[in-house]
């Protein structure tokens, strides 16, 4: 970086960094793109080019969003939805980790279950909604099970690969220093699995959200899925789309949380590239 330029122009380094960031294509292309798309959409709505019965536009959706929050409907629907989301993840995460570890570490266990796991992995989970409903019902248990099926696969598969890709030369180091099996898990296997697990969790959260909406649409209708469907059926498109916006925000937030975890757990990688 040229250090003489700021002094010459009297611009502080902070300002300079700001303007340099602004000049990055990533930032301004995104800003312009958002401005054009949202602005264009809004403009079409304002000028009456969008029929409010068949579609809506940003400011109308914002107002509807606020109305739904003010009336308490959004909060109670989100609360209802989050119950199956959280329950599903709370089952899928530990279960997926345990299954992935057992499959990765114990050959016999892998042979015993890999057919089912990979068959399920290849099956579109939506197709399982009806069989699950028949067996477990269309309420909380059935819906949570759908979320579990959606979320668990990337966890199992990633953890399995993490265990499988343990550095063999480090495995030899643990053996050479007379490590017990338990110590080996603590010092080597768990730490090697963490990056794979975090990546799997990122995928799992996204899929859990999909599973939640699928369950709310296909089984007994409830939560944000129901809220959206009800208003769309009443031809109130702005209110029908508001829950979709909320789902979008939650999806982005979950991805961010996972990214932060990823950085936190791999601080030892930070300067690896130097």
């Amino acid at each position: 970086m040229a250090t003489d330029a700021p002094a010459a122009t009297g611009i502080s380094t902070d300002e300079r960094a700001f303007w340099e960031r602004i000049k990055e294509p990533a930032v301004y292309v995104r800003l312009i793109s958002l401005f054009v798309v949202i602005g264009g959409w809004e403009l079409m709505g304002q000028t009456g080019n969008i029929d409010p019965v068949t579609f809506s536009y940003p400011s109308a959706i914002c107002v509807a969003f606020w109305d739904l929050i003010a009336s308490g409907q959004m909060v109670s629907a989100a609360y209802e939805s989050s119950q199956i989301l959280v329950a599903g993840l709370l089952i899928a995460i530990p279960l997926g980790i345990v299954l992935g570890i057992l499959m990765g570490r114990f050959q016999i266990f892998e042979y015993a279950v890999d057919t089912y796991v990979f068959a399920l992995y290849a099956t579109p989970v939506v197709a399982l909604a009806f069989p699950i409903a028949m067996v477990l019902g269309v309420d909380f248990v059935g819906k949570t099970t759908i979320v579990v099926f959606f979320a668990i696969m990337p966890i199992i598969v990633n953890v399995y690969h993490g265990v499988r890709n343990v550095d063999l030369s480090l495995l030899e180091v643990t053996r050479s220093f007379c490590s017990t099996e338990g110590q080996r898990w603590r010092d080597l296997i768990f730490p090697s699995v963490v990056p794979y697990l975090v990546a799997g969790l990122g995928l799992a959260c996204g899929r859990a959200l999909v599973g939640m909406v699928v369950a709310e649409f296909l089984m007994s209708i409830s939560g944000l899925g129901a809220l959206s469907q009800d208003y769309i059926a009443d031809l109130e498109l702005d209110k029908g789309l508001a829950p979709v916006v909320l789902l979008m925000v939650v999806g982005i937030a979950l991805t961010k949380v996972v990214n932060i975890c990823e950085t936190k757990f791999s601080s030892w990688r930070v300067r690896q590239e130097s």
Binding site: S169, E172, S176, C178, S267, R271, Q272
Partner: protein
């Protein structure tokens, strides 16, 4: 040192060791005695089974023929009295330097206070003081191998096994570490098997040099370097004896099938 001898009894004994990987015959009829506090360097062409030999001594793999014994006990698995320094360092990338150095001690279940004391002692001894909080990827290869050495030393083994530990390092770092290894061994003597494919390194570090044949690895010949303890590496490098031995080994390595002209004043077994 747990034994009260003066450093001449065998600590480690290999008798008739033979090893096959499937149909690949890797080691044949290896007999080696390593005395307490002796540094044995093993020199051999790449692929002759040096690493395999060290892994067998460490108890990481078993041999089909023969037997290893440590202080009279048969070695059938890794034991805490032996510690290995690995060619690729073998540090845990997610552990800080002090955690890596204290690894063997934690495995052995030592007390926290003792671990801290030993870790700081050996961290200083290998010249890594101040780098305790760094991760291996933040350090140069030379520093990583210092940590690998400190980890092995901290376990306070009777036998140190080193598999081309300086092979991945540049020439200058390598020479520095050779000096330091001798200095450390002076301070805390122990038996050492040091594998290398560098003739100079074998001569400078070894009390005894053992040369292996190409696969299947057999013992070709061995001799005492006779440079004595407290050796000054610069002085040795300039000595006639070193030059003569170096030339002899050079000829031997170049012609695996015939022995070079013996040097009269050296006793070669």
């Amino acid at each position: 040192m747990s034994s009260s001898d003066n450093g001449t009894n065998p600590t480690l004994r290999l008798q008739g060791v033979g090893k096959w990987f499937g149909s690949l015959h890797v080691l044949d009829d290896i007999d080696i005695d390593v005395k307490t506090q002796e540094i044995l360097t093993i020199l051999g062409p790449s692929g002759c089974g040096k690493t395999t030999l060290l892994r067998i001594v460490n108890g990481l793999i078993l041999c089909e023929r023969g037997e290893i014994s440590f202080k009279g006990e048969v070695v059938d698995g890794p034991r805490p009295e032996m510690a290995m320094v690995f060619q690729n360092f073998g540090l845990f990338p997610w552990k800080r330097l002090d955690q890596n150095i204290g690894y063997a001690l934690r495995i052995q279940g030592r007390e926290k206070g003792e671990i801290d004391r030993l870790v700081s002692h050996y961290t200083e001894l290998v010249g890594l003081g101040g780098f305790e909080a760094n991760y291996p990827s933040q350090l140069s290869g030379g520093m990583q191998q210092r940590a690998g050495l400190a980890r092995a030393l901290a376990a306070q083994p009777d036998v140190l096994l080193m598999d081309e530990p300086f092979g991945a390092l540049d020439a200058l770092t390598r020479e520095t570490l050779q000096e330091e290894l001798l200095r450390i061994n002076e301070a805390e003597p122990k038996a050492m098997i040091f594998i290398t494919h560098s003739i100079d390194e074998a001569l400078l570090l070894g009390d005894r040099v053992l040369v292996m044949t190409p696969r299947p690895g057999r013992i070709r010949f061995q001799f005492e370097t006779g440079f004595g303890r407290g050796r000054d590496l610069e002085e040795i490098r300039g000595s006639q004896r070193f030059q003569a031995l170096r030339h002899y080994l050079w000829e031997a390595m170049r012609n695996p099938d015939e022995e070079p002209e013996p040097i009269p004043e050296l006793v070669l077994e």
